[in-house]
């Protein structure tokens, strides 16, 4: 009988591929976002608004992740942007291997920005790095003000939180200040945007912040060359 020390990360195979993706994005100066939320929070609509704000300045690509259908890819395609749809067939999150395969659908050398819309899920996507630069969380006001405390990991690892559907606040019982307070106590550096994608409010600050992040990445890639 013998004891063997392993001390190995169970998800190490995923992490290795995520790092390969990261290196590719870094060498091409591509800024990558991983958009996460529960189903119906407004990821695809936010993505549509973001594309319209950025596409005249940056070359964009989108990877859509869903269990089934290409509904979201069709919506994105209508905005004149390269898009690849991943159907996971049951997996509740995207992983780095799926992203690596999807990159065959792009000319990655010319991509300034790649936005990955993850499968709608507040739990599993938080565990799987895809090789992205930042994780963005979207929480809509109709989901309940208690969600940050109930799903702490998701809020801790996000760089920014978009509180969406704020136009509905007069009609529902949601204390948005509680969302903000709880989210910041989990993650004091979290950047928070209050947005209505349908009424197109709050999008300018989001656009300005995103442009700043993109330029910072591009400068860093340029210096490393």
């Amino acid at each position: 009988m013998k004891q063997i020390e392993i001390k190995k990360d169970i998800l190490s195979a995923h992490e290795m591929i995520a790092n390969e993706n990261r290196e590719l994005f870094k060498s091409n100066g591509t800024f990558v976002l991983n958009l996460m939320s529960s189903p119906g929070a407004g990821k695809t609509t936010l993505l549509e608004r973001t594309i319209d704000l950025l596409k005249d300045t940056f070359s964009l690509g989108v990877i859509e992740g869903d269990i089934a259908t290409s509904y979201d890819a069709e919506r994105i395609s209508a905005h004149g942007v390269q898009v690849v749809q991943i159907n996971t067939g049951g997996a509740c999150h995207l992983d780095s291997a799926m992203i690596k395969n999807a990159l065959d659908g792009f000319n990655t050398e010319t991509l300034d920005v790649l936005i990955i819309e993850n499968v709608g899920n507040l739990v599993c996507p938080a565990e799987f790095n895809l090789g992205e630069d930042i994780k963005i969380m979207i929480l809509s006001v109709t989901e309940g003000e208690d969600k940050p405390c109930k799903y702490p990991l998701m809020f801790r690892i996000a760089k920014a939180l978009i509180i969406n559907k704020v136009d509905l606040l007069p009609y529902i019982d949601c204390n948005i200040n509680r969302i903000i307070k709880d989210a910041l106590s989990l993650n004091p550096d979290l950047k928070i945007f209050e947005i209505s994608c349908t009424k197109k409010t709050g999008l300018n600050s989001w656009k300005e912040w995103l442009e700043e992040e993109i330029h910072t990445k591009k400068k860093a890639s340029f210096i490393d060359e």
């Binding site: 013998k2 063997i4 392993i6 169970i10 195979a13 739990v123 702490p152 990991l153 989990l186 550096d189």
Partner: protein
């Protein structure tokens, strides 16, 4: 979380390490799972046992050490347990702390019968 696919990843590593060590049988697999990792131990054990059938890890005992969430304060250098989602230094109330444990999904050790037994 989806314990079945985690069990699949565990099996891949266990069988690879067992082969490296010339194991005839895997007797025990010791895991370290952080509280933040959102894994349900009973489900994980169930899935592991299912996947281990017909392999040298069949009937191996799976033990799970739960790793608590610990924070470290870069301001006063204290390390402390984080409870009730309070991500703030217990000593100086600095809100900008580092989480140093709690997200682990690790295989720590294997116990095997090798060819010399």
């Amino acid at each position: 979380m989806h314990e079945y696919s985690i069990a699949q990843s565990i099996m891949q590593i266990v069988l690879a390490e067992a082969e490296k060590a010339n194991a005839r049988k895997v007797l025990k697999v010791s895991l370290g799972i952080g509280e933040l990792a959102g894994v349900f131990p009973d489900s994980l054990s169930f899935c592991f046992d299912l996947l281990a059938k017909g392999t040298i890890a069949e009937d191996a005992k799976l033990t799970i050490e739960k790793v608590p969430i610990r924070g470290h304060c870069p301001h006063c250098n204290k390390t402390f347990l984080i409870k009730n989602n309070l991500y703030i230094c217990q000593n100086c109330r600095n809100p900008k702390i580092e989480v140093i444990t709690g997200r682990e999904l690790q295989i720590n050790q294997l116990e095997i019968d090798d060819e010399t037994d």
